[in-house]
Symmetry: C2
Subunit: 417 residues, 2 copies
């Protein structure tokens, strides 16, 4: 396909998505739930087709020389297929956000005012190798009454296609417009370029993937973007931290899954804590196989350099630094952080309050592992991603944050003096 064809194809998908969104906006909650449940059924029934499509993608990936980590993300197993179906059911079981009354009040003029949730419209999702994003993103967009255009990674073309067919089967079974969930059927990168500027058709774009993809989308998109570029996650160990709790939480925050965005990347340790208790968690980390890049006064695997502050490793590496109290920790995080997630370990309420008030990350935690930075762990059923921007969506983005609202105003022939 040449560039002109791609443009025409994408515009056609955009038109179809707009039309589907106009219908979906007032689709009954039951129909959307039925579509998700039917899609889950279809995924289980077609497990063999999905796995064989995935085998083709894996073969393509091996020939392309993808790293073992990327191949692992691409691979589907019966357990992963079952988890996708389970995810669809979890979203189906959530309360329908559309039509919910967010606020309701009356004015002295005689007007009764309600603010109610509405769908956003049409969402574009651009992702990399994980095929399950097809199911998660499609389901969340549908739940919120939005049409969606999915553009999966070129490696997962066949897997995503097979999953997408199940979603469409669900829409069909529930009598909803099939164009509500569309998928870009080509590996051509021109489709991505086109999506980024389709302001007439897309209301928002959600990129899911590495910093390369997200950075490209954030730089080039004319359509608004919900995303985070990096998760430079800090844990501050306060003078009043419980030393045993610090050991448990820090080990979990780094090693449970070092490659997720909520994995801790930098420890800030109060000097008074260190003087009283040392830093036994650094030893724990090193024993667990983590490379500790230690600032002045601390003993780690290697010394930290200036480049280690504000670095997202997504790996079994962590930076550590001594600071003078919560204010120096706050200053460090403001300078080097990415406003994703930070945690304070302390038994002192006033210090915790200061950390919560003076930092402005999407998620601030106290005495908890940063690995909880996840829509499911926040009770959202699933997430389409985590946003660090401050407009509209922030933190884990579930169905509710994929909505807008409108005001419904009722009078009795009321006129304005």
């Amino acid at each position: 396909m040449d560039a002109v064809d791609i443009k025409g194809m994408m515009q056609g998908m955009g038109e179809a998505a707009r039309a589907a969104a106009a219908e979906l906006a007032f689709a009954p909650a039951d129909a959307k739930r039925d579509a998700l449940l039917a899609a889950a059924e279809a995924i289980l029934a077609r497990e063999a087709d999905i796995l064989s499509a995935n085998a083709r993608d894996m073969e393509f990936g091996r020939q392309k020389g993808l790293s073992p980590a990327l191949l692992d993300r691409l691979e589907l197993t019966p357990a992963r297929v079952a988890a996708m179906a389970e995810g669809l059911r979890a979203v189906a079981a959530q309360e329908d956000p559309v039509g919910a009354v967010m606020a309701e009040w009356s004015m002295p003029s005689g007007l009764d005012i309600r603010r109610v949730r509405t769908p956003l419209g049409v969402i574009g999702v651009i992702y990399e190798s994980r095929p399950n994003v097809t199911a998660d993103a499609g389901a969340l967009c549908l739940k919120a009454g939005n049409a969606v255009i999915l553009r999966g990674g070129s490696e997962s073309l066949h897997s995503s296609g097979a999953i997408h067919e199940c979603l469409v089967a669900g829409l069909r079974a529930a009598g909803l417009p099939e164009d509500a969930i569309q998928r870009v059927p080509t590996r051509d990168r021109a489709a991505v370029t086109e999506m980024l500027t389709m302001t007439g058709y897309l209301d928002v774009i959600v990129p899911r993937g590495g910093a390369g993809l997200v950075g490209l989308v954030q730089r080039e998109a004319r359509v608004p973007v919900f995303a985070h570029l990096e998760g430079i996650v800090h844990i501050y160990v306060d003078a009043a931290a419980d030393p045993e709790m610090a050991r448990t939480v820090i080990l979990n925050a780094k090693t449970r899954r070092p490659g997720v965005c909520g994995s801790a990347e930098c420890l800030l340790i109060d000097r008074a804590f260190f003087a009283a208790h040392g830093a036994p968690f650094l030893t724990d980390l090193m024993e667990a196989g983590v490379e500790v890049r230690a600032g002045a006064g601390l003993t780690g695997s290697v010394p930290a350099t200036e480049e280690d502050w504000g670095r997202e490793y997504l790996d079994m590496i962590i930076a550590a630094k001594l600071v003078d109290g919560v204010d120096e920790a706050i200053a460090h995080i403001r300078r080097y952080g990415s406003q994703h997630t930070e945690s304070i370990l302390t038994e002192d309420d006033a210090v915790a309050e200061r950390f919560f008030a003076r930092l402005d990350s999407a998620i601030l935690m106290r005495n908890a592992s940063t690995q909880f930075a996840d829509g499911g762990e926040f009770g959202m059923g699933a997430e389409i991603g985590i946003a660090t921007g401050k407009l509209h969506a922030r933190g884990p983005v579930g169905a509710e944050q994929l909505t807008s609202f409108k005001y419904l105003v009722t009078g009795k022939g009321t006129i304005r003096p």
Copy 2:
């Protein structure tokens, strides 16, 4: 000043605004309220200075050949100065949105999660001749804990300057950073061009003014924009409308103030209503001096042409058209509307529900005058504008919609399995 100087000046203002915003984010509610009350005092105390600055602007405006309507917008009187002070007090009296807990829940993991309001950051306001926008916009941004950069119309340079000094006096009296409310001190248009792309410093831009200004900002800005380009406001007179109520509401919706964005621009009249009751409100409108541009089958001042559908007159002109029921009205509004405000006149609940569900304007009304499309009338104390976009802010934008949020998560040494 040359372009390089303007760029440097604006970047400097941006840096200062960022620093002020970081402090404002945790400023006590009392300090913000005190600043607003002190600013109101200063405005009353300096009435003479403000009026004499305004006299210089009026002289400049007359020499520039501004229309009487524009000169009226520019002019300040003792009553208008008092109204500005009153507006500041009204915003001061509103509840502080920052820190408010929007939602609070616990998870089976043991985490307690709160979603709390935070300021957005730094807001840019670009407006035309009305000097009072300086006070309103400055006050709303401060209330929500945001720093603001104000760029008023070149005609109102001295008036805005005098009002801005009062706001700064308020900040100073309350011990808040003076850079929280900054004003671009030049008529040079290069400052506007610079603001539109200051994505590193501004979180959002609010343009206040005519379609020329708003269109320019919407087209050129790289910073997100809260605005409406046009208010193509429709009223649908249903078969089940009360004929007397229709007369009262329609006359008010057009003639109370024909130049505001909530003024009705197009009447859609159900054929069955017309067969039963005629259209006495068209006669009322014409007697009140309104030019009625009437579609086929209706008698008005002149016949309507295709160009009259989807037209914003902001004047004593209205279009009128016969339609076959609510669905044809909905189709017309979808095709020609601007998603600002529409009203349905009907006693039939099911028809009203259909109108509310199937249209997606920021404000939908039933049996009420569209002149109520205003933040004050919605109970927001004041508004910085009305937004028709679907991201973040929609409808009248008050202090609450100038905020973002963050999640505060508390555990007890909680780790993720």
